[in-house]
Amino acid sequence: MENNFDSSNQRKLNCSDASKCFKLLESILDGQADLESKAVLDEKLAKCQPCFEHFHLEKAIREVLRTKCTKQLVPLELVDSIRQKIQDLK
């Protein structure tokens, strides 16, 4: 049993149900889980090192995707061109 704990933070070093836990963690990060699941999450993050690491890596990936992906500016003429085509339809 002792080997299953990280001495620094007392988290389990192995997750007994990683598949189920990781699925839940990903749902929570995607905003899909309910409050009850979030309570389970807090407990897992406090007690399980693989869940803790998986959660923070997945979170970081979502954050960099959201904040760093290069964005294209909409070409100026596009809006006018759409409006013109709609006028032609009428």
Binding site: A18, C21, K23, P50, L65, T70, Q72, S81, I86
Partner: protein, 196 residues
């Protein structure tokens, strides 16, 4: 989305829906189109076609409902029907093989990555974008819809015409593939990605 009863909007209503509910999404629509086609002209054509279709079929849109998801669904269908065929860069992926693989809902969530959080946070925007752009279009699409555009699983299921379970598993696989790409960048940057 498809079962909505047809409306009979006046021209004034049509214009108001178009201006107030459809046009505000042009930025997201153009970026989605660009990330699908990687070509400015194709992206412009795709967005323009989408807005024209949206106007033409405006009576099947219920005012005040989710216009963004409705528009994204039209754009995605236009892309599949018209643009994917004439794509300038035919994908090297064997679609048959990929279809079988990613349409299975049985996905192994057990796989861990040795990619480190600080390496991810230090990635440049270009590296993230390149990694995303290098994914096969169906994997790229779920990440764009979820992480860049903030759609829920339910909205994504409607946009893509697939069950929610498939959204979830495809998203999980897409992110695993993305992690592999990011890991290659991290190694180039000199981050240690090996576990002890």
């Amino acid at each position: 989305m498809s079962e909505v009863q047809r409306k009979k909007y006046s021209d004034k209503d049509k214009n108001s829906i178009f201006d107030q509910e459809f046009m505000p999404h042009i930025d997201s629509m153009y970026n989605f189109a660009y990330r699908l086609t990687f070509d400015e002209d194709d992206a412009k054509d795709l967005v323009q076609d989408t807005y024209l279709k949206a106007y033409r079929f405006i009576n099947s849109f219920e005012k005040g409902t989710n216009a963004k998801a409705w528009l994204f669904r039209i754009l995605k269908n236009s892309f599949i029907n018209e643009y994917r065929k004439k794509s300038k860069q035919p994908s090297k992926v064997d679609y048959q093989e990929v279809e079988t693989y990613y349409n299975s809902d049985n996905v192994d969530y057990n796989m861990t990555s040795d990619l480190r959080v600080d390496a991810v946070k230090d990635m440049l925007g270009d590296e993230i974008s390149n990694a995303l752009n290098s994914l096969a279009v169906d994997f790229r699409t779920v990440i764009i819809l979820c992480d860049l555009e903030g759609f829920t699983y339910e909205e994504m299921a409607k946009i893509l015409d697939i069950p929610i379970g498939t959204v979830r598993s495809r998203l999980h696989r897409a992110r695993n593939l993305l992690k592999e790409k990011l890991k290659a960048y991290a190694q180039n940057m000199g981050y240690d990605t090996e576990e002890e």
